[in-house]
Amino acid sequence: MADPAIATSLHLALELRKPLLIEGHAGVGKTEIAKVLARMLGTDLIRLQCYEGLDTSTALYEWNYARQLLHIRMQERDGHAAAEAEAKIFSEAFLLKRPLLQAIAHEGQAPVLLVDEIDRSDEEFEAFLLEVLSDFQVTVPELGTISARERPHVILTSNRSRELSDALRRRCLYLFIDHPPFAKELAIVRRKVPGASEELAAQIVGLVQRLRTARLAKVPGVSETLDWAAALVVLHAAHLTPEIVGETLGCALKDEGDLRKVRAEIESGRLPVGGP
């Protein structure tokens, strides 16, 4: 189901060897693109999930302290000097590689590095990431500099919960993914939820598409459509009725206020649900 814009962006990211920044609403399949790319290239996917407070010890590397301590104790028992132990315990065997270092130190074919939800990390981390992305090398004080043999293919995703820095944007190719149009979303539902009848799938997609035009606090994404369709299949619904929509609406709308608003619309008949 390759959209020409997505295909072009991935092609360029591979050709120009530049990171690709993907933005779009929650649940439009940004993360999925990285997975598909890794599958297409037959290479590993290394994922770094961002969150506020993410720091280098979780993103880059950390020493394995428990193992270091054990090793020192054993060395002591065997009567070795501390200096000898020091040289040993700060070697690669005691290094825990976190996603960024994994991607850089990766052996063989260049992996796909997915930096997921970069907007949730803070500015300091963004600046640090920028540094890593510009030369793909990392210095571990005890070990020296490790640089990538093959530059990883980098995909960054953002939900736009905060504006990313211009410096980061400047360095990336850009792809914005909007909610898919009716026909495409229907095709996605048919493919991912094969149990849903043609009629049911069309009704669900039609309704979700209408919901997206309403002013909601949290607009349902494609993943919500899929969840909803799957739930209705489990309930053996052949088509939508106001009752069944009322019962399962929580699959698509995740905000109490939205739920109340849409339920009222359905009850009053302003939002028809039965039609195709």
Binding site: A5, H11, L12, E15, E52, D55, S57, D122, Y174, R215
Partner: protein, 373 residues
């Protein structure tokens, strides 16, 4: 690739840059490389390739489409015309406007709670004289302003960030440093190192309108800023009416009366008209580096602008992009009947994270929440 196509691509980059997109020479080089690598099959393909390289946020798509259409249209390609003049369209409506309006409605209720609805005539010097309004403020209540400012400042300074730093004491063991230190006494971890949360450094940049229509309020808002600055080091204060003036230094006086005297001596167009757009433009140009992703920008103004609303909108957008939050405090919002309909206010609204009243103590207390969020 034909020289004409390269030329056209460069022209596209230039026009996009002129329209405020982030397009550097490196982008132009990438664009040509990208076309060579992937984009010559069709016009559609060319469009997708160039968009992927040259656009970096969704708001820019429309501009890109326009410029691309003008420069890469079939006629232009056939006749080999040079860069075409393209007409500018008004910016699309931003969904953020709705959010700001919703929060405005809430805040309006909170701020004006229990007060009688009344008319507030716009930019005149008449003022809502509700009991709690600053218009009817006594000297005793000035202390309350200071108390609120001090509390906000304390909370701003004490707010821990999500990041850790090494310290001799703290809530968590810093294993890495402890290990390192233990090596000098045969790997016995005698000297424990800890980690603690780094304090979050929130910076406030306040721009206070001191034009005629704000006369009554700006006195109190300045007082508020003065108190705020007395407690947190990272407050930068500016006043504006027809021009912009940095007053951070002036507000550092040990007494407010002294600060005020200094202000009136230094600021000449006090109580004149307002040109918000131009003042913000001057701010962005000269003091833009004060604003980063940790900065809360607070504008205190009633939005009565005699300048160009388009300029105001553009400058607000720039501020919003750079700052953590963009807060507009409007004393007139305290009146339940007030609608932000002035052209200036309309241009600014889509870019605000918070649009709230600032006409009484309740609203100042609410400000605490906006600054910390």
């Amino acid at each position: 690739m034909s020289a004409d196509l390269v030329q056209r691509t460069v022209a596209l980059c230039r026009e996009l840059r002129a329209r405020g997109l982030l397009v550097t020479t490196a982008h132009a080089i990438d664009a040509v490389r990208a076309l060579g690598a992937a984009g010559l099959a069709s016009r559609e393909r060319m469009y997708l390739v160039l968009r992927c390289v040259l656009v970096s946020r969704p708001e820019e798509m429309e501009t890109f489409d326009e410029v691309f259409d003008a420069l890469f249209s079939r006629q232009a390609a056939a006749s080999g015309e040079g860069p075409v003049r393209v007409r500018r369209r008004s910016p699309p409506r931003d969904p953020a406007a709705e959010v700001s309006l919703a929060s405005w409605a809430e805040e309006g209720e909170e701020g004006g709670g229990g007060e009688e609805p009344e008319e507030v005539p716009a930019a005149s010097d008449q003022v809502a004289n509700a009991a709690k309004d600053f218009g009817a403020f006594g000297a005793g209540e000035l202390e309350e302003i200071q108390r609120i400012a001090a509390r906000i400042a304390r909370r701003l300074a004490a707010r821990p960030s999500r990041r850790w730093k090494s310290a001799a004491r703290g809530s968590r063991l810093d294993l890495r440093r402890t290990m390192r230190r233990s090596l000098s006494n045969s790997a016995e971890p005698l000297d424990l190192r800890f980690r603690r949360r780094k304090p979050r450094k929130t910076r406030i940049v306040a721009l206070c309108d001191v034009s005629g229509s704000m006369d009554l309020y700006s006195r109190f808002l300045l007082q508020f800023l003065y108190a705020l600055q007395g407690t947190v080091a990272r407050v930068e204060s500016f006043v504006f009416s027809t021009s912009l003036r940095r007053v951070t230094g002036l507000l550092r006086e040990p007494e407010y009366a002294l600060a005020l005297r200094g202000l009136s001596a230094e600021v000449h167009d006090w109580s004149g008209g307002t040109r918000i757009g131009e003042c913000l433009s001057a701010f962005n140009e000269e003091w833009g580096q004060l604003v980063d992703g940790r900065t809360v920008v607070v504008i205190l103004s009633d939005g009565w602008d005699t300048g160009d609303p388009a300029l105001l909108g553009a400058q607000m957008e720039m501020l919003r992009r750079r700052s953590r939050r963009l807060v507009w405090l409007n004393p007139l919002l305290g009146s339940p009947d007030y609608q932000p309909l002035t052209q200036g206010m309309q241009a600014a609204l889509p870019h605000l994270s918070v649009f709230a009243p600032a006409h009484n103590l309740v609203s100042l207390r609410a400000l605490e929440r906006h600054l910390l969020a």
